[in-house]
Symmetry: C2
Subunit: 416 residues, 2 copies
């Protein structure tokens, strides 16, 4: 059988299937698993890519029944049972589609050109390089307005990623860039979080939404609610009645199912995710499953399951079990999400968490967040590296991973 | 005064000048200092870029008289006292040129196209990505000869960098790739070290040259001495009487002074380095100095000083002292190298060192090498990160930093 995608869901499915008497081929675009919840830390120079990425072949070691192929999924033929990838066509008896989502611009003008998403290590590097590069440019820029524009960072999207990225950028500014650039008036630098609806963290209880907003404001983040972006231009964010001059624009306002041509075409949600049956199979193709963010499945109340690591992991477990049940001739089980809660961090000793029915914020939520994320990291080595970086960053108010790695030369806008 | 280049020499000069009553502008192409002796570790997945690169602004913190500019040096006008960089023109009263060297192809056909140097983080990433990418390709390659070519790694140049890189690639193959690719016959993979002269490590005593060669052979490296490369073609290394099919070619056979237009043109060595006077000044321009690898200065025996970190550091100290002496009206001093010895590592418990007049090899030399390099790393944080990685790699026979970061998709030669 074939698993497309080595994110939380795909990897968990493979790990469970190693116990079963099946041969598994895992396909991913990268040769590493990305710990997505910490991408914002790479984007804000707190961690390095190596700390949150784990070589897939290292994870799979010792499993004689698993083969790994680097390649991007292109098409699936359910009747022929063939998955086409950039590394060639692969025949399957069972297929698990776990390719996640991509950044969704909702067709808003300029987003594709002038904003960076945060869906991969490369995205995170781009955000970090952009912020650092623009501060270097500001340091040699004589015009005050242009300096301010170069130092203005806009995050669009008030979900957990947006909240965490905005908080981390604000701390980068206060603790690191202010000391790095003594000749710059870094107080002119702005971090602006823009959200189209009237609240942050829509999946959280109302009280925690408000706490997170207060924590961000406390860090100096300008939070704009009910502010749908009308369009982006080069260095400009257009809101209703306001234009913000900014050189760093991160777009974490939405996602869409990653593109994959499937024949016959399955039902899709409006955001392009595959609408699956309760057993996680694709309607009309009982041996093809979709799990994780790419899968759209309403719960008992008719609300789709959230796009969380926990959902992907539990679906990965169930899909492995259902395939094993098929082989054993037993009936499949239906997905039932065990809600482990949600949490988001804003900064030093600032976070919100809704776990075990409790709403906590501040220091306790922050410690919870740290422990949960540290334990969730796949490898011991990466766990140690993250712990080292976090300890250093916390104790020294530092972000040691602030390398400009884009290989461009010069602090000007006319490189070379 | 202005310092061009934040390598070992330039950075040391700046740090010494912070005590003096001068304003310093430091210019570098990158916003980080690269610990060059460990580049081969990044190229062989042992360390990550962040472990051996240190943000320059972090190093300079707390120095009120030092400004840093990201930019590449382009030209120097000694009469006008102006240095032109990609970030604009900078006036100087004193100038220290410390821009190091670039890879030298000696005009050999194909080197620029088909080989990668090892002079920067980007080079190291390119080497690592190439090796890992080609193993992924080999994993899906049906043709045995092509598979062997994809798994063949050639290092050209038998100096310390070549010896260390070849040894590290051999260990990567034995300890990591063999386990990562159980379906591949990794014993068909080759690591070949090619040297034009009849010996490795020409700066070392004869006995240690022989020890290093034996250690490499012991690791499975094929060492070809007296084998000048005639030309490179796509996937082919042409030697006298032999052609090696290889997809990974690292060129560490030579360097040349980094290009910089200086008016009036100073005398240069054959490899383009600036021939300096005994006080490290450029002949005819007493307020312009050159130090480190870019400086060419024969010792008392008429032999040029080696291109070593120790030479650069000591020259950085002297140039700072000579500028201070100028200001105080005292005569300048002449450079005298205090030889701290040379060392090179080949692999686990394998190294050679010529220190304090002693020739040591094996475990003792290896421990010496580890301690010296660990202590030489500029920041505490990076020292801790390197120690963590080395401990992990040693204990687990692992190389955790083997991410394919080139963002190409697919395991085929026709990406996307």
């Amino acid at each position: 059988m074939v698993v497309l995608g080595a994110g939380f869901g795909g990897l968990r499915a493979v790990q469970r299937l190693r116990r079963a008497d099946v041969d598994v081929t895992l396909v991913d675009r990268h040769n590493y698993h990305t710990f997505m919840p910490l991408l914002y830390e790479v984007a804000s120079a707190g961690l390095s890519a190596n700390d949150i990425a784990q070589p897939i072949r290292a994870i799979l070691r010792g499993g004689p029944n698993v083969e790994f192929v680097v390649g991007a999924a292109r098409a699936v033929d359910c009747a022929d049972r063939t998955a086409t990838t950039t590394a060639g066509a692969i025949a399957f008896d069972y297929l698990v589609i776990a390719i996640g989502t991509v950044t969704n611009s909702f067709g808003i003008e300029g987003v594709d050109h002038y904003a960076t998403g945060l869906k991969s290590i490369q995205d995170a590097d781009t955000v970090r390089n952009g912020v650092l590069r623009n501060f270097e440019r500001a340091a040699v820029e004589p015009d005050a307005a242009e300096r301010a524009r170069l130092m203005t960072m806009v995050v669009v999207g008030g979900g957990p990623t947006g909240v965490e990225l905005a908080g981390a950028l604000a701390e980068l500014k206060h603790h690191v860039l202010k000391r790095d650039f003594p000749q710059l008036d870094v107080s002119a630098a702005r971090v602006i979080l823009i959200e189209a609806t009237d609240r942050l963290l829509s999946a959280f209880p109302r009280r925690l939404q408000e706490r997170a907003r207060a924590q961000l404001v406390d860090l100096g983040v300008e939070v704009r609610l009910s502010s749908p972006v009308e369009r982006l231009e080069e260095g400009e964010v257009h809101l209703p009645g306001e234009t913000i001059a900014a050189s760093n624009i991160a777009w974490v306002a939405g996602t869409a199912g990653a593109p994959l041509a499937i024949d016959p075409a399955p039902p899709r949600s409006r955001d392009g995710r595959i609408a699956v049956s309760g057993d996680l199979s694709v309607p009309g193709a009982p041996r093809v499953f979709a799990i994780g963010d790419i899968a759209y499945l309403p719960d008992a109340h008719g609300r789709p399951h959230p796009m969380l690591a926990q959902v992907a992991l539990q679906q990965g477990e169930l899909v492995a079990e259902n395939i094993a049940r098929d082989i054993e001739g037993r009936p499949r089980r239906t997905f039932k999400y065990r809600d482990r809660g949600v949490m988001a961090t804003v900064g030093r000793r600032r976070a919100v968490a809704h776990v075990f029915g409790m709403q906590v914020s501040g220091l306790l939520a922050w410690v919870l967040w740290l422990v949960v994320h540290l334990l969730a990291i796949v490898s011991l080595r990466n766990r140690a590296a993250v712990l080292l970086n976090w300890t250093w960053n916390y104790a020294r108010y530092d972000r040691a991973n602030r390398l400009l790695t884009d290989d461009a030369v010069g602090g000007t806008r006319e490189p070379q």
